[in-house]
């Protein structure tokens, strides 16, 4: 079974200050740490686990800048067979549709039985690329997959709905699934894996221009300051004391 996994390099922003550049259309990446998108990491692991059970190749695809080689190489170190990086000249103003189109052009050559992506990217969070790609390839899909089994050309998957409810589907391969976090326990790359990765194929597609964008960022801005918590001021001792007083005053202690 041949598997394609689409991955993306994203900044980690949960603990960092995020600033907008002068064009007002991008953030300033300089101070940020980048890594593979969280859900994509689970998608990659799912591919690696499947490959342990069946023969076949894993090909990684990414649309991104040269720096995205980092996440491809990490995936190769974990055991993927080869990587493809797609870097169009207008990389800076793609929308989700254009990204899916770039991916489709490469992925369709590969005769894959299964295509996995993350269910959402933690940067812009459209949750569009996977399902759009499935439509462009003309294959069925399921999103938010939290359990997956393959048998006789069909996949039985569970999708995560609201409130912890799951939905079980049977889907004919080839198919595309967008993977939800928590489906497995992503591994770390071994030292040996990292050494081997250096020998693996990493194909770069450049000198192309993406077309067909339908959504454009007009501008980015900081969220308006609306309702804000009363921030307790002082050292650890002081703020702890203040909070206790507040809670006691409300009859919560």
């Amino acid at each position: 079974m041949n598997i394609a996994v689409c991955i993306k390099r994203v900044p980690e922003t949960a603990e960092a200050a995020v600033n907008i550049d002068s064009s007002e259309k991008h953030i300033i990446p300089d101070q940020l740490v980048f890594d593979i998108n969280e859900a994509d990491n689970y998608a990659l692991e799912e591919a690696l686990l499947l490959r342990e059970k069946t023969e076949g190749d894993i090909t990684l695809f990414t649309v991104g800048s040269k720096e995205s080689d980092e996440v491809i190489k990490m995936g190769l170190a974990k055991g993927a067979t080869r990587g493809v990086r797609i870097t169009p000249e207008n990389l800076d103003n793609l929308d989700a549709y254009a990204v899916a189109k770039l991916l489709a052009e490469q992925v369709k050559e590969g005769n894959f039985d299964l295509i996995l992506t993350g269910c959402i990217s933690s940067d812009v969070g459209n949750s569009q690329v996977g399902v759009t790609l499935a439509e462009l390839l003309g294959i069925p899909h399921a999103t938010l997959v939290i359990k997956m089994g393959i048998e006789d050309g069909f996949a039985t998957v569970q999708r995560e709905l609201e409130g912890g409810l799951l939905e079980e589907l049977k889907i004919k391969l080839p198919a595309l699934f967008t993977i939800q976090t928590g489906i497995n326990e992503p591994r770390y790359a071994s030292i040996l894996g990292i050494k081997r990765a250096a020998q693996k194929e990493l194909r770069v597609i450049e000198n192309i221009t993406a077309e067909g964008m339908k959504a454009e960022v007009v501008k980015m801005y900081y969220p308006p300051v609306g309702k804000m918590a009363e921030i307790l001021e002082g050292g650890v001792e002081e703020v702890s004391g203040k909070l206790c007083e507040i809670l006691k005053g409300k009859g919560l202690l």
């Binding site: 569009q128 938010l144 409810l165 079980e168 928590g182």
Partner: protein
């Protein structure tokens, strides 16, 4: 030419989902002076759902087919691509939910509709559609414009529009189902219920929510002690479950549980909307986070900006003192 607004009705197991009423509220506002508000209902034996929807739309387009009993993106696409291309609504609204996420991107691709997802709001200025989105974990907003077209698809984040009663009386129009053959490449099999745990976090008056900020599972016992001394139960954000530190029944949020305790303390939780959806109904919310810009502080009533590894033991000490006295 009138410019109608379509709202795709979301329902599951016979119940209309809240997002539908939020969308109908927004749809009503957008449709004034433009056209009509139509609710598009795909299902099987829809009478009960139609009764619920009637006061919220001007027209209900009712597509009744046994194969639409449960949601299936493939059948939805057949029905909706036919319907939208025929009726040409100006804007079609749906929810950014497990339902919307699964069919909107392929539908928009199949019939070439510009699509903006997970929007907090949308505006129409001289026939151009603009949407407002939240990106980078809620730290940045972005304004999007959609390329000119006869129609647009917009998915809206649940909980971003306050639903209002619009007191309409919808006319029901039956639309025949265009589905011809059964589909064998995607089949709904069954629902699988969430596993029940040892404690029901929705029953506790005090809930301590812990997030990825606790960093290592060795810090769990400190949090357990804290929950015990304050008389609450331990709950968490999704990454804590993903890491296997707590079980799924402790997860608060859109894909976990909704809690409405008297007190919710969010410790090391950034405040992603999927989490906030599950706890914003608490009477008093306290957030402890080392990042002063964490979105959780816009949800909380009280905040402590600091390292939880220092704050929690101190707080624990004070509470134990107070309770002992």
């Amino acid at each position: 030419m009138t410019k109608d607004i379509f709202v795709i009705v979301e329902h599951r197991r016979g119940e209309v989902r809240d997002i539908t009423f939020e969308l109908l509220t927004k749809g009503y506002e957008l449709s004034r002076d433009r056209g009509k508000l139509l609710a598009v209902l795909l299902g099987f034996q829809n009478e009960k759902i139609i009764d619920k929807l009637k006061p919220f739309a001007e027209t209900i387009l009712n597509i009744d087919d046994e194969r639409l009993k449960e949601f299936n993106a493939e059948y939805y696409q057949i029905v909706l691509s036919n319907l939208l291309q025929e009726k040409k609504p100006f804007i079609t609204l749906l929810g950014q939910t497990a339902f919307g996420i699964d069919f909107a991107p392929s539908l928009s691709t199949a019939i070439d509709l510009p699509y903006s997802s997970d929007c907090l709001d949308l505006e129409i200025e001289n026939d151009t559609v603009f949407t407002e989105r939240q990106i980078y974990g809620g730290k940045i907003n972005s304004r999007i414009s959609l390329a000119e077209n006869w129609g647009y698809l917009v998915s809206v984040r649940p909980g971003s529009i306050a639903p209002r009663d619009v007191e309409l009386v919808a006319e029901v129009v039956d639309v025949s189902s265009p589905i011809k053959e059964d589909i064998d490449y995607r089949k709904f099999m069954q629902y699988v219920e969430a596993a029940k745990g040892e404690v029901d976090i929705t029953q506790s008056e005090v809930v301590i929510g812990i997030g990825r900020g606790i960093k290592e599972d060795k810090n769990l016992s400190m949090m357990e002690d804290f929950a015990k001394s304050i008389g609450g139960v331990l709950a968490c954000s999704r990454p804590v479950v993903d890491a296997g530190w707590l079980t799924k029944d402790r997860q608060v949020g859109s894909s976990g549980k909704t809690v409405k305790p008297k007190l919710y303390i969010a410790v090391g939780i950034s405040g992603a909307f999927q989490h906030v959806m599950g706890m914003k109904g608490a009477d008093t919310i306290v957030a402890i986070n080392k990042d002063p810009n964490a979105p959780i502080f816009t949800v909380a009533n009280y905040g402590i900006v600091g390292d939880l590894l220092q704050v929690i033991p101190k707080l624990n000490e004070k509470i134990t003192e107070l309770k002992g006295a």
